[in-house]
Amino acid sequence: MKAISKNLLVIMTLTTAELKSRYRNTWAGLLWVIINPLMMFAVHSLIFKYIMKIDIDDYFVFLLGGLIPWIFISSTLNMTCYSFITSREVLLSFQINPLAILGAKVIDNFINFIIPFVFLFIILSFTQSFNVIGVLLLPLSMIPLVLGTFFLVLSLATLQVYFRDTQYILGFLLSISYFLTPIFYPEQMVPEGFRFLLNFNPFYILIKPFQIALWSFDMQLYFLALFQSLFCSIIICLIALFIWKKRKNELYLHI
């Protein structure tokens, strides 16, 4: 219990410091956090809704449920994969739990995800209708999303210490996953014979509860997707802890 409260204090301190140093005396920093996903949202809307004329009802709502959580996962993985290396000096100088550094980075990115998500939700709620129960269940969808992302980050950041090209391979895998994950097209557009493959896409499993809650709410489908998502995050957690346990004691010798 004492160790948990100590680590929580370290995570809170590091997260606050990250946020403070980024947004210090500048609204532009905060604005960038909104502009970046907003631009992505606008470009996706333009390309798929107006140029490719994809035939989906409430496409903006669909994008909100898929694209914004995807941006959270991909940007968190990209930004934190190198964390143990970039935090080398701090890790080698203090007795800080390396997991606290990753935790702080994931929370920082989560806050950066929530701001544009809520902003877009408010804007869209003027023109689109949302299922109230689906919206109320949204916080539940965030639990496996954050846990899954954190443990993916833990695996990748650990691997990065030992295999220095991990981030390049990650960039490549994320580019492929972007097309293979139904975030700008619905699952129904995937040919039936290939649809089973989506059950092996961890990104989609983590994102799916958002899409159902916002775009096509059905209580039964939602909870099924949520349990799948939780199960996926547990599997990711077990793999990450296996890698971490095997490698953590030599981490300081390799960073």
Binding site: V10, S21, F94, I96, F163, D165, T166, I169, N249, L253
Partner: protein, 271 residues
Amino acid sequence: MNSTYISDKNSEDIIIEIKNYDLEYRFSRFRNSGLRDVFISAIESPFRFFMERAKRIKILNDINLKIHQGERVALIGINGTGKTSLCRAIAGMHGKISNIKINGEIRAIFDTTVVVHPELTGRENAQILVNLMFTDLTKEERRIKVVEAIKFSEIDKYIDTPFKHYSKGMKSRLFLSVVSSSPSDLLILDEVFAGADSFFNEKVSNRIKSMIEQSGAALLISHDEELLKKLCTRGIVLHERKIAFDGNIVEAFAFYNKINLKNQSVRRYSF
């Protein structure tokens, strides 16, 4: 050439006890390589890939050590002999090790010029340091510690300016003021005096001295012979990954200088 240090302290005062401790570094064939190389090795020669074992290099060899309450111990040795690695092992950075028994709380500092957040002010960085180092204190106790450390550092005039504008000496002052603000069972300081000016070194040395007197022991690493002689009572010389000498600080430096001279003359002959 081994010398055993006989402490007059009793066994109940032991803060650290290390028995037959080895630290190894796995030197795999993938060193400095990436996943791409692992993939290529696995395809090119699968048998070798799965059968070849990683080589191991010893960083520390058969370390036996006891540190008692109130002792000020200097770890002496040329660069690369494993001084910092030993301190990191004691601080628990290499995980829980059954050969190392710790009786109390350890506070370890390995660098005083680490910029935690250069954009933030000195005060904010002091708050961060206090939060990272004194996690067991209450919010109010940590606040008081920040105020006291800033006062001790004598840089209150610049404390609300960004940390990135501080000189190395100023950073060191603030850092050392935080570090030395509270006693702990064992304080590990690795080259932390580098960068601070001589006047402040004197001031901080006095504070560390009084801090040690208040409670625990200290394990110091520095290349400053005079400073260590002033601060420490006991010296441990690490040579070729082993404890080569453990005893009085003056004798430890005599031993260290002797092996250094010997090594230098061997090097001269070999050219």
